[in-house]
Amino acid sequence: MGVVTDPRPLLSVDGLVAGYTATDEILKSVELSLQAGEIVSIIGPNGAGKSTLLKVIAGILAPSRGSVHLRGVPIHGRRPREISALGVAFVPQEQNVFPTMTVRENLEMGGYVDPHGSRAKIDAIFTRFPPLAEKRRHAARTLSGGQRQILAMAMALMVEPAVLLLDEPSAGLAPAAAEKLFETIRAINQDGVSIAVVEQNALEALAIAQRGYIMVDGRNSRSGPAAELARDPDVRRIFLGG
């Protein structure tokens, strides 16, 4: 007997409309789907609504129209805590750690919704990310930019998520640190976590992804296999500067 696969996407976004005030629509109509085991990159110019899309999926912002489904169950409009407990972990672009708390305490807060087995999970994270283990008793604000991003992702992994939402993880990092970060993202994905990543660094983002979405002005502009998008001359000219 073959393995029965669920035909539904793990995460699907349909006709999403949202903004920070009632009159201001940043997302005008967005579609997105994420299959189990996949990395999807969302790229586009500044102000396209990429970060807003992740915030709506994570429950920080309520959509005014449209829907977000996780394994076919609607999750839009739920509180961040509930969405996190359902297995969707969001890593914000900035201010994604608790600066005065230690690395270890940050990880504990990462697993706040489900403290069971948190000690074992933290030990596993320390084994996997030795730089974090070395700094376990240091305040998070003392970490380098790259270490801080790793900590932020590790905090998200504390809830053993099915879906990881990353908002511009490489922003502000030196090229070497960014490269290491993309390696980490790929490794997390290989452990079975599906990832939607928003990036300015479009080439790198498409290189680690199976599929890509290009957003312009609050709408989907193009989507397709990441390798095809990365090769497409139009896409390269507009977004990749080449």
Partner: protein, 287 residues
């Protein structure tokens, strides 16, 4: 020289007692992001709660302090839930002004119930201790110990418990705390309880040294605010450092100034810190 040393010891003891409500003030600021000046009336309410437990209930002073904590904490949660919380979306200034109004109202409730008279706790008469040239009152010393226990308890709570860490997380980064599933309303109620409870303990400790009346808290709020600002608003270790600084400075001011001008120390300290180092001694290190 002996006189200076005596003032220094008095200042450190006064500063330690002052640190208790100052921690309450700064903790509330760290989580709820507004200066809750209603802390003054909560200190008074705690002092009177402890007074009733001590004189009518027959509890010794150290046990009545727990009653002071509970009563002031409970009033703190209720007043925050029904008066201040609905105003918080309007901004920190609006909420702070409402807190001043709330303070006047609560102070007058105390006046209505207990009158304007000064009242004293039921305390055993004890002779002062003489250590070399320094005089220390046993009650002063007991207050010092109670204040240290209260501070140690709050530090352990913040460092070791899940709830204490959640409170620090909200103070550090409220948006992220929300993403991670911390219930900000619950943390807000908790910080109101603990912060105002500490104010109540502070009010009672001050009253144990002298007497209490409806203005007990009002007389000390400037020093509490100054301690929090000097240490860095929102920083708990800062509140301790600030309170010791203000306590010692107020006592040492007696060398040069008449006691009536003692409160000028708080004003001067606030002015100096806001001019020279606006983030306070320890900045915004929440914990």
């Amino acid at each position: 020289m002996a006189e200076l040393l005596q003032l220094l010891v008095n200042g450190l003891m006064a500063g330690t007692v002052l640190a208790v409500p100052a921690i309450g003030f700064t903790a509330i600021y760290a989580v709820l992001r507004f200066p809750n000046f209603a802390l003054a009336s909560h200190a008074t309410i705690g002092a009177f709660g402890g007074y009733v437990a001590n004189t009518a209930g027959g509890l010794p002073a150290w046990a009545a302090v727990a009653v002071a904590f509970a009563v002031a904490g409970l009033v703190g949660v209720l007043s925050d839930t029904f008066v201040l919380r609905p105003l918080r979306p309007a901004g920190a200034i609006t909420t702070a002004i409402a807190a001043v109004a709330l303070n006047i109202a609560l102070e007058n409730v105390v006046r209505f119930v207990f009158g304007n008279d000064h009242r004293g706790y039921d305390l055993p008469l004890q002779r002062d201790w003489q250590v070399a040239a320094i005089r220390i009152g046993p009650q002063q010393f007991q207050n010092l110990v109670i204040a240290l226990i209260a501070m140690a308890a709050i530090f352990l709570f913040l460092a070791l418990t899940r709830t204490g860490k959640a409170m620090r997380a909200v103070a550090d980064n409220p948006t992220l705390a929300n993403v991670k599933g911390v219930d900000a309303d619950r943390v807000g109620r908790l910080v109101s309880f603990v912060g105002m409870g500490l104010a109540g303990v502070g009010g009672m400790l001050l009253g144990l040294d002298t007497s209490i009346d409806p203005l007990t808290g009002f007389r000390v709020i400037l020093s509490v605010f100054a301690a929090a600002v000097v240490g860095g608003l929102g920083s708990i270790p800062g509140a301790v450092v600030g309170a010791l600084t203000i306590g010692v400075a107020e006592e040492l001011s007696l060398v040069a100034l008449a006691p009536a001008y003692r409160s000028a120390v708080g004003f001067v300290a606030i002015l100096l810190v806001l001019t020279l180092r606006p983030r306070g001694i320890l900045g915004e290190r929440a914990y």
